[in-house]
Symmetry: C2
Subunit: 120 residues, 2 copies
C-alpha cells in the first residue's frame, strides 16, 4: 500500500460508534510496528495476559475498570493506561465504553471470533 | 524501571493543559518501541519530514490543519491522522490545539530547545 493511499483522516468516535460487536477490535491505522485499534466494551472479559506485547488503552467514551492482581484502576474519558507485557489484567465496563487500543497485533477480531479471554 | 512502577493512569487532557510551552512534546508513556507524547500547538511549524518514523496525531482538543504537499487535511477533536515516514508536512493551528502524538522518538523537547521545524 502506497503511503499516499494511507493518508486519511479517521474520526475515531464515529468508527467506534459504528461497531456492532463488543470487545472486537477494528484496526484504524498502522505505524511504527503498531496497530491502532478501536473497540466497544461492556461487561467483563476473563483474566489474561499478553506475553509479547504491552497493551495501551485510551478511553474515548465512558468508563473502564482495569482489574489487576494488585488492585483496580478506574479510567474515565480522556485517560490512558498501559498494561505492560506479562501482567495479568481483566478489563470490565459496567456501561458501554469506547476504547482506542495500541499494540503490535489484534487480539480480538470479528472474523477470528472471540478469544478465550472474552466473555461478551 | 519495574513494570509495576510504571502502571499509572494518565489523565491526558490534564497533562496537556499543564504544558507551558508550544510544540514541545512531553512523554506520558512508552510501549512496544513507541513513545506516547502530548503537546500544545498554536501557529505553524516549518515544513519538515521524519525519514525514519511515522508520526501519529490524535487531536484531543481544538483543530489542527496538517498541510501536505498534496493538500490540507483538517482535523477536529477526536480525529486521528498518520503522516508516513518521509512525507513532508507542516502542522498549523489557528487556535490552541492539544495533541497526542505517537512515535519512536521525541522530536521536540523543552530541554532540547526547538527543532528547526518549529516556529513558535
Amino acid at each position: 500500500m502506497e503511503a499516499m493511499e494511507r493518508m486519511e483522516r479517521v474520526d475515531v468516535r464515529a468508527v467506534t460508534s459504528a461497531l456492532d460487536e463488543f470487545w472486537s477490535q477494528q484496526v484504524i491505522g498502522e505505524a511504527n510496528g503498531n496497530l491502532f485499534k478501536v473497540a466497544k466494551g461492556i461487561g467483563s472479559t476473563n483474566w489474561h495476559k499478553h506475553d509479547d506485547e504491552d497493551e495501551v488503552f485510551f478511553v474515548y467514551k465512558g468508563r473502564l475498570t482495569i482489574q489487576l492482581r494488585t488492585g483496580n484502576v478506574e479510567l474515565s474519558e480522556g485517560d490512558m493506561f498501559i498494561v505492560p507485557r506479562g501482567v495479568e489484567h481483566c478489563p470490565r465496563a459496567d456501561d458501554e465504553v469506547h476504547l482506542l487500543l495500541v499494540g503490535p497485533t489484534v487480539t480480538s477480531t470479528r472474523e477470528g471470533g472471540k478469544p478465550d479471554w472474552s466473555r461478551k
